[in-house]
């Protein structure tokens, strides 16, 4: 298999494509392959990693034109990409390639490249933090836990399980047009606090993301949901938030 890696030296040299030929073993993931290259061919190849089990969110990158986790992507299964729901086109440097013999590996879009496959996530995290994504306790005086129904728990978990890998941020066409757009992950997390009965801001949470940089920016391309390794539907959260705001205006 030939891995075509979009490289960037980080000190102004690049970007350029570099090819690495490797022998693919059964079950080998893209992350395994990158380590193989680092350890056997070129130790200057940089990429983020930690858990290798799809929970830490370090290794999101663009593989054969789709943002995804390198550790969760088996090379042999890339042949079956045509079974995945197609994405609304995004701005990746996709050259012509043959998925039977080649794997195209690029950094995530919509973020500045620092070195090879490593992107600068400062803005991604700054936008997230700007939403005060922490619980503002409604009942701090409780001695025991807050009582919560299983239904509420399930609904919260749907968004709270986000690993902040930024795959959706990279896959979102609105993010590539509008630098201010908060992005799918931050909005889904904000919605998680909106529906948390323990949070004292309640409906005011919706006012934290007004206008086109917030809820209204979304055009429901649903690339976010399609690429999310945790099957989180930010589009659904955004839709529900918009509905709720509309309802509020109606009553006012």
């Amino acid at each position: 298999m030939r891995l075509k890696v979009r490289r960037n030296a980080g000190d102004g040299y690049g970007p350029y494509w570099e090819d690495f030929d490797i022998e693919v073993k059964k079950g080998m993931t893209v992350l395994d392959a990158l380590f193989l290259i680092r350890h056997r061919q070129d130790d200057s190849l940089s990429f983020r990693y930690s858990c290798r089990g799809a929970v830490c969110g370090s290794c999101a990158m663009t593989i054969n034109g789709r943002p995804r986790l390198a550790c969760r992507t088996q090379i042999s299964l890339l042949q079956e990409d045509d079974k995945l729901p197609p994405l609304v086109p995004i701005s990746v440097q996709r050259g012509p390639f043959d998925p039977r013999v080649e794997v195209l590996i690029e950094p995530l879009p919509n973020m500045p490249v620092l070195k090879d496959l490593i992107v600068d996530q400062t803005e991604f995290f700054r936008k997230y933090r700007s939403l005060q994504p922490w619980l503002l306790q409604r009942y701090p005086e409780l001695e025991r836990e807050n009582i919560m129904s299983k239904e509420t728990e399930t609904e919260l978990d749907r968004y709270a399980t986000c690993i902040l890998c930024a795959a959706c941020y990279g896959a979102c066409p609105v993010n590539s047009e509008n630098e201010e757009y908060l992005g799918p992950a931050a909005l889904a997390k904000l919605y998680r606090f909106r529906i948390d009965p323990r949070d004292s801001l309640g409906g005011e949470r919706l006012d934290q993301a007004p206008g086109p940089s917030g809820w209204l920016g979304c055009r429901f391309h649903t690339n976010c949901f399609k690429v999310c390794p945790k099957a989180i539907p930010p589009n659904l959260a955004i839709g529900k938030a918009r509905q709720e705001m509309k309802g509020r205006e109606g009553r006012a």
Partner: protein
């Protein structure tokens, strides 16, 4: 190659190395108390190993039992027994006594725990526990705890230094006065002065191959403490988890067995019957891990060395509700769906019971230097940790460490900034030197060799001959480190440097494991000697302590602090 910018020394009240649960819990407390805090971590805090914890966190909340039936004392007893009596009982009392408060506090901060019918935090049975006391968030408990603590930390002014690799501690007149770190993004050295330094660097699991740990768990904190003059305690106690996915060794949580999963060998026998007839699959980890390995050795396992974990009888609904992550992992990484297929599992390295020797308030023997969490050995886990007790340790002792540091502000610093600069220069030179040396061996080769060596010579079953050979080889590898260079001369994100620095940590830490294991001529908890299969309280009811002098390691012993629980035989 590596530069030091003149203004690159910063002062904080406290410097915390590690952004996992332990580090963040300590940081939060210090920030709430108005201290200036630096959290220095080699990865973004959310990428820390803590995020991967699956099964849950123990606390005697009595949510799954009749009120008053379970108690923190009963939790403490289970912990001490599970530890094969090597735990310090006073420390265990702190851990278990504070558990309900610590877990409820996390819930108040926003953690999304699974709920029972009454809407309270759900609790499940876990190995070695007398009652169902493991609180959980499906099978992503570590994720909800770590994200919740990070959220709370974001609401304060904490200085995060992400992707900074701490390479050395600055010790002056016997006191820890700061540290220096390699900034991956810029490729420069940075200095940190602080009134107190906390090592919350996690475990050393990756000195083994077949490990469930994140790739980054290379024992850097143990190395930093050792070279600074502190002691490493009980390093021979390395937990092997019975069920890791065959192939990648990703963890298949004990929750799978807690929910009713059974283990079958290649003949379809429920072999645990022969090893722990009462507790069966929920016997403590060391016992189940040895049972599986025994089946492997006796040829009762599948080719390649694995047995089957059967969950099919739980039914789709229960698997989807309680074990969604386990199901996804099995599909993604082994291509099997536990709803209708067996999951192939084998034992793998999982947890580091040993660590930096620390007191009940997390102080090491070096003033100004603290240790907590998996990096430390206080000791609450003794010879074997119970599932659900280490997440607990992070939130309980992370807070304790924070409290200890509140009294140690930067006004307490008495030191000479020139010394820190010297240290930074020395570290920068040694990193720069990595690209100069002849490349007899690569860093990657040495790492591979070390990991294999540790698994085969200091693994689930140990004996003198095998360990002696292993120890000699590990020692030799330490000398080969000087000959292992790297090629990458780049400044930004030079991860070849990081892998070399990690190897520098791994080698002496591995040697500490080796000499402690060789000298302990008994079997206790996770440390199983085929040549000494019995526990020997007469000679070995004591902690192993390893220190370093002029590069050489020395082994001594320290007494176990016993308490109200009498030392008995451990049967399940």
């Amino acid at each position: 190659m590596v530069h030091i910018a003149p203004d690159d020394v910063m002062a904080h009240d406290v410097a915390i190395v590690g952004g996992g649960l332990t580090g963040l819990r300590a940081a939060l407390l210090c920030a709430e108390k108005g201290r200036s805090v630096a959290v220095i971590s080699k990865v973004h805090p959310l990428r820390s190993h803590s995020v991967a914890a699956q099964g849950g966190v123990n606390a005697s909340l009595n949510n799954a039992t009749q009120a008053g039936k379970d108690s923190w004392q009963s939790h403490a007893f289970d912990t001490v027994k599970g530890a094969d009596y090597l735990a310090d009982q006073e420390a265990v009392d702190i851990l278990c006594g504070d558990a309900p408060r610590a877990v409820l506090e996390m819930e108040h901060m926003g953690a999304v725990f699974s709920r029972n019918e009454e809407g309270r935090i759900a609790q499940r049975p876990f190995g070695g526990a007398g009652f169902p006391r493991t609180c959980y968030a499906a099978d992503h408990t570590g994720h909800t705890l770590l994200h919740t603590l990070y959220e709370q930390c974001m609401s304060h002014d904490i200085d995060f230094f992400e992707e900074h690799f701490v390479t050395a501690l600055s010790i002056e007149n016997g006191r820890c006065a700061g540290l220096c770190a390699f900034d991956l993004a810029s490729g420069e050295m940075r200095g940190f002065e602080a009134g107190a330094v906390l090592l919350a660097t996690g475990g050393y699991g990756r000195i083994y191959c077949h490990s469930t740990n994140a790739y980054i768990n290379t024992g850097d904190g143990a190395y930093l403490a050792l070279t600074a003059g502190a002691a490493l305690k009980d390093m021979e106690f390395v937990q092997f988890h019975p069920t890791t996915l065959f192939g990648t060794n990703i963890l298949i949580s004990e929750a799978a067995r807690g929910e009713g999963g059974v283990l079958l060998n290649a003949k379809g026998e429920r072999f645990m019957q022969r090893y722990a007839a009462k507790a069966m699959e929920l016997a403590p980890r060391d016992i189940v891990a040895r049972a599986i390995w025994k089946e492997v050795q006796e040829g009762n396992a599948h080719e390649g060395g694995y047995v089957d974990l059967d969950l099919t009888h739980l039914g789709e609904e229960r698997i989807l509700e309680r074990l969604p992550g386990i199901r996804q992992i099995s599909i993604d990484f082994a291509g099997v769906d536990p709803v209708d297929e067996m999951v192939p599992v084998q034992p793998g390295q999982h947890y580091s019971m040993g660590g930096i020797d620390a007191s009940n308030d997390c102080r090491t023997s070096i003033p100004g230097l603290l240790a907590a969490g998996e990096a430390s050995c206080i000791s609450v886990h003794g010879a074997n940790r119970l599932g659900g007790n280490s997440l607990l340790e992070t939130i309980v002792f992370g807070k304790v460490a924070g409290q200890t540091m509140v009294g140690m502000t930067k006004e307490h610093m008495v030191h000479d900034p020139a010394r820190l600069k010297d240290l930074m220069r020395r570290e920068a030179d040694s990193i720069g030197h990595l690209t100069d040396v002849s490349r007899d061996r690569t860093v990657a080769e040495l790492r591979r060799e070390l990991k294999k060596l540790m698994f085969h010579h200091f693994g689930i079953f140990r004996d003198k001959g095998t360990m002696k050979l292993g120890q000699l080889r590990v020692h030799a590898l330490r000398h080969e480190l000087g000959k292992a260079g790297i090629d990458d001369i780049g400044k930004s994100y030079n991860q070849a440097v990081i892998e070399a620095l990690e190897l520098r940590s791994m080698l002496p830490v591995a040697e500490a494991v080796a000499i402690s294991a060789l000298a302990r001529e008994e079997s206790r908890g996770s440390h199983y000697r085929t040549d000494f299969p019995q526990r020997n309280d007469q000679d070995f009811l004591k902690h192993s302590m390893v220190t370093m002098k002029d590069g050489a390691l020395a082994l001594t012993y320290a007494p176990v602090r016993l308490g109200r629980y009498e030392v008995r035989e451990r049967v399940y």
